[in-house]
Symmetry: C2
Subunit: 501 residues, 2 copies
């Protein structure tokens, strides 16, 4: 291929991406392998890589190449390969050149140290140990929002990094359409006085067996262990190191095997999205995720819509009883009700499908208040606990189970939480369509065959990379715009099954 | 501190070093964690980091800064801080500017892929699978030697990277002074017809117990697990990720617990050298190893002079019998003789103290023949086996136990093996001096206390970083130049103890 402006642009984009993947391995190692005393040096490594990546991402030559490409005839189809790559490289470039190199480097350095302070603070439930670091992170993110610019709300400038083309105004509207029905549903379930037998899930399950069961399930749904691995970390996550190397983590508690298993299904969902990009697009926008909302739709689909389904457990319950002898006297129905219980709790990642979104709403509101300086960091634990009481009817007994529970803020991920609920919404919309397109879908699950769903996702979602915006993709695949109706229908059906209301 | 040429030089040297440590984590991950399909991407990552590091290492600004520093009055003491750093940065710069960037990048890329081919070839003992990659590596190393330049032997250009100021002519002389006495000693032992009861070491030892015992021993001799970790890899190694993060690996075989344990002691010795540099010199030559020979003197001292001593096992043998019940009926004397057996074998890393150096001699000679084109790659397996027969009296039954056994060449480490024997020589010289300086040294080992030796090493060797050349250091610490006498004395004493000859 001759060295056209477009090919040179791609070469440069791939180099910036390659540096980003170096940062990913440093991060993965930090979370899963690094000894405690290595944090200071790791912060310096990350800061250097971030600075180098930023230098590359903001090279004025990229601006020149973009301008050449944008006036080319090959851009005629706005969703063609070249137009997609040019549009998305332009998006990243426009954002990057607004950010001073020093700010980017500072965020990379602070995030490593803030993360370590968070992990220590969480362990001892000591908010004061984390709050000075949260203040540093928040200040950097406020500066970042000011540099990027926004119309109404600094939140939008940060959200845009994770969910391109989305706005807080639209999110407020969507989330409002969810909140009242969710609070009503959760309240209705509570008023029955009925409980699902969740104590089943606290029976001892040896960690080695959990690990083996998790690997088996991940492999069965389609996670490729030749192109990935599974480890242990404080907070489960998925990291795309690059083509052929996508890694997931989970955590183990002998008395909560569901916690680990559903994490594995969740992170496998993320990983299979990354493993589903076309190799020829590696390092270019066509080989990358369009948004975190779409990313999360993949994880939540496998975790909840597949992993908590009757069909999935029709196949796996007998095996689970072999792996975990403590389940020997448990009936299928009780097990199914237990994994589909709705019970307000303190921890987002442990939350059921219905209450989960209320956890997200709380964070969405608090983040905006922090960014807009309507809430001080000193008042954060109080505000958190107050909202927990209001939305979920519970008050965390300590900050470890309150505002210190999530890793995100320590790494600077403000504007991120909202994408979790977007993921839940998209997941239900996509899954309804997949069931419509493949009438035998759930029959295949019951036979332990998940290939039809993965193939559908590969075809309809994964292979497109960033070709279509999230909004355009959901419209294209399902025929409908983003809607809360499928999620609410799904949750109401579960409530009827489990609680009879 | 004002921005003098010297401070700017150090800032730049630290940045190049920091990039090098990023490469180290990529390498460590490749050896211990990376899934098989990740190798292609890893090669691209390493190539990029190598190119960036090389760009920094060869920036003409470094040449200007070096010139300014070299004419400064602060250089008066040739072994002062500034003179040391400037001298060693000059050494690295002079080498780096001779190497074309494309060659450096190519070596980084090829080494990842060649390493993977080597690991596969070794598994199936298929030399043909590795030989095209070895040819690529050799060609690059020949080009590298030509670029660096040399007087008599291309080997010198490569050796200089690992053992500064050393020459192949001098090595030939030193190695000659070892070969005849070693061959004589090994032959004399064989002629007794006596055998040490080495089958003791093949008794089953559960891997979990080996792991625990190894960790305990590493911690006891002084490896700091808060600033490091221990993992599993095909070939044991030590990687310095940076201050606070030095990692070692080992491997486990249920029927060869000594293989793992002595690896752990060996790699811990390397790691403690790295952990012993002064934090204020991090990233500068004063905080780095002077040579691989000195590095190896640390690992071999802990592995052999400490780890195979009567004193060490006086403390640990009762514990070993608790960890490994299969040793219950073994006497201390039989165990001591078993771990100090002299038995020619195929594998260098399994070799005893006496035969080990003959394995090194063989590689030293073959490397020179390959580099000088006196030996073709096709003829390598034959030449290897012939020399094995000549020096050790055994012929490897396959290439996995012959010329495919070592990782080094796949990563481009030509000129490296010689430093192993240098390490054995230096180790004995240093250890004799330590025993002289601390008469109670071995009594403390017998009580499980290794702190006196580590303190002696910290003071006499570790803290100096690159202040003194290897030759100067051994003279300074022991009063003698490099000599084969202490090693030969040590080996003869062991032969007398174990075989009565």
């Amino acid at each position: 291929m001759s060295n056209t402006p477009y090919t040179e642009l791609l070469t440069r984009a791939k180099e910036a991406w390659l540096l980003g993947t170096v940062s990913s391995i440093l991060h993965w190692d930090q979370e899963t392998q690094m000894p405690p005393n290595g944090a200071g040096h790791r912060a310096n490594q990350q800061a250097l890589v971030a600075r180098l990546a930023h230098e590359r991402a903001t090279d004025p030559r990229i601006g020149d190449l973009l301008a050449s490409c944008e006036s080319s005839r090959d851009m005629a189809d706005p969703e063609g390969d070249q137009a997609t790559n040019v549009r998305e490289i332009r998006r990243a470039y426009s954002r990057a050149i607004k950010l001073p190199s020093a700010l980017v480097e500072e965020m990379a350095r602070v995030s490593v140290l803030a993360h370590q302070a968070w992990a220590e603070a969480r362990k001892s439930s000591d908010f004061a140990h984390f709050s000075p670091w949260l203040a540093k992170v928040l200040k950097i993110k406020q500066e970042e929002a000011a540099c990027v610019g926004y119309k109404d709300n600094p939140y939008d400038a940060l959200l845009d990094e994770y969910e391109p083309d989305e706005t807080s105004a639209n999110l407020v509207k969507v989330f409002e359409s969810l909140r009242a029905p969710l609070v009503e549903l959760v309240g209705r379930i509570a008023s029955t006085g009925r409980r699902a037998p969740t104590e089943i899930l606290e029976r001892p399950a040896p960690i080695a067996a959990q690990q083996e069961f998790g690997c088996m399930a991940a492999r069965a749904i389609g996670f490729d262990f030749n192109a990935g691995r599974m480890d242990v970390s404080v907070h489960p996550f998925c990291t795309d190191i690059g083509p052929g190397d996508v890694r997931i983590t989970t955590r183990y508690d002998e008395k909560a095997f569901g916690d680990s298993l559903f994490s594995v299904l969740h992170e496998s969902g993320h990983a299979m999205y990354e493993q589903g990009f076309l190799p020829e697009h590696a390092g270019t926008p066509l080989g990358q995720a369009i948004s975190l909302g779409i990313h999360e739709s993949q994880s939540r689909m496998w975790e909840n819509l597949v992993g908590r389904s009757r069909a999935f457990w029709t196949h796996y319950f007998p095996t689970a009883r072999q792996f975990f002898p403590s389940l020997a006297d448990v009936s299928f129905d009780d097990f199914y009700r237990a994994i589909n219980a709705t019970e307000p709790g303190y921890i987002r990642v442990d939350a059921d499908e219905a209450t989960y979104n209320l956890h997200v709403l709380l964070r969405f509101e608090i983040e905006q208040a922090l960014l807009n300086k309507d809430l001080s960091i000193a008042d954060l634990p109080g505000a958190w606990n107050e909202k927990m009481q209001k939305y979920l009817g519970v008050t965390p007994p300590d900050d470890a189970r309150g505002c210190l529970q999530d890793v995100h803020w320590s790494g600077g991920a403000f504007g991120y939480f909202a994408t979790y609920t977007l993921g839940n919404l998209y997941a239900c919309q996509f899954f309804d369509q997949a069931k419509h397109d493949i009438p035998t879908l759930e029959t295949s699950f019951a036979a332990g065959d998940f290939a039809p769903l993965l193939k559908w996702l590969r075809t309809n979602i994964h292979q497109h990379g960033r070709r279509f915006s999230a909004g355009r993709l959901v419209k294209k695949v399902t025929g409908s715009a983003l809607s809360s109706a499928p999620l609410l229908t799904h949750l109401r059906r579960k409530a009827l099954e489990v609680y009879g209301v």
